[in-house]
Assembly symmetry: C2
Homo-oligomer: 246 residues x 2
């Protein structure tokens, strides 16, 4: 992990950009975090639109967590932002756009091609980022995962034992294989669903929520469209993490 | 409204029992409520099991609201508790029990007979209770409605303009006629659904949530069975009312 820039935001949050091999990332730590007072960590997931484009929303979530005494970290997804193009991912996205434009159904084949390779490549990268960030003396854990492509969150929740709680955003296509994987998830879950998210398959989101094996799982459905998660819903997600990570 | 008893609970909450004609009720006000500092009000709904049996859960909700500076009031449902038996309601309940015991489907006819007359009789009573309680100088409004038989809440939310926000518990049978009524509800809603409530029709609850016309509506689904609403879910409902009534 190579720190490439470091700045204090106005609220005292320390923002460091880094690279992990070829992967860019950002780490935010609360002002008070130190080796003698290490803090919990939330991995901030995001859609594959590039960290640059996602930065405003990510830093808002980071400040929110920092105010609760929790550090946050995120890395670029494969094929996104400044990372090398990924022709297979580009083809899968083009195929999705073509089907949507033609008014055709989004088939399992399209969804699998879009999501499964992304999960396969991204999850080990997030685990490597976790190794690197947890090696810092001011980051102590426990660790949560929040948002982004829900299938990446499901896989991480299922396979990464250091993740103790996950906040998932049910706003992207879910390959059928993920429903089986969801049954193996047992950590506390907080699932956000935008009820009136027209591009989203609401029934698939409900089925996925039903499939999770967790004894504690909460679904919060709200209005406001795909990007219109109400502030009170973000606050509720924050309280979920505070309850489980602090 | 005739006050029949009055006591201070250990946290300073004033508990008054009253009768409104033949209908018994209870009113809880925060210690600090006064004519010069009137407080908001939440009507506490409950299932038709009698106020005596429901008292422990009702007083817990009342104390929770009082700590937020909100008064609460409840009245006995027709045919329940110490009120005169209601043969038609008893027959409808017996018919439901018979169908359940025989493993038969709970038909629309059974649900209508069980719920619609209860809504028809209860709603004007709750409106009369609202008249009486709002006449007290220490109760100022705004008014919320919380919990109990969801169809009573839906009707009140649709027809009673003084109710500004409703927290509904999706845990009882919903007559088909209520889905149409739900479309006319436009106030902010916070709907609790116990996802693993085996006796409850989850799909009907989701359909009802979908039907509400409110621009702000939130569905919070949790685990824990019919009576096992997690404490954090009760807290979230409390925050919903604080946001809208204070």
């Amino acid at each position: 992990m190579h720190v490439t820039s470091e700045q204090r935001l106005d609220d005292g949050v320390l923002e460091r950009t880094f690279t992990l091999g070829e992967i860019p990332g950002i780490l935010w730590t609360p002002a008070a975090a130190s080796a003698s007072a290490p803090v919990p960590l939330i991995l901030l997931g995001h859609p594959p639109l590039g960290l640059g484009r996602m930065y405003p929303r990510l830093v808002a979530r980071a400040r929110h967590s920092a105010a609760e005494g929790i550090a946050t970290a995120t890395i670029e997804l494969p094929g996104s932002g400044d990372r090398p193009r990924w022709p297979a991912a580009d083809r899968a996205r083009a195929e999705l756009r073509r089907a949507l434009a033609a008014g055709e159904p989004v088939t399992d084949e399209i969804i699998d091609a879009l999501i499964l390779p992304l999960v396969e490549r991204a999850v080990p990268e997030w685990q490597a980022a976790l190794d690197a960030v947890l090696a810092l003396p001011e980051i102590g854990g426990p660790v949560g995962y929040s948002g982004g492509v829900i299938s990446i969150g499901v896989r991480l929740a299922a396979v990464e034992p250091r993740i103790m709680a996950a906040g998932l955003f049910a706003g992207s296509f879910v390959p059928r294989a993920m429903f089986e994987e969801a049954r193996r998830v047992t950590i506390p879950l907080h699932v956000l669903l935008q009820w009136d998210d027209e591009g989203n398959d609401r029934q698939a989101a409900l089925d996925l929520f039903d499939a999770f094996g967790s004894a504690e799982k909460a679904l919060h459905a709200n209005m406001g469209g795909h990007t219109g998660v109400p502030e009170f819903a973000a606050d509720a997600a924050g309280r979920f993490f505070s309850r489980h990570l602090k």
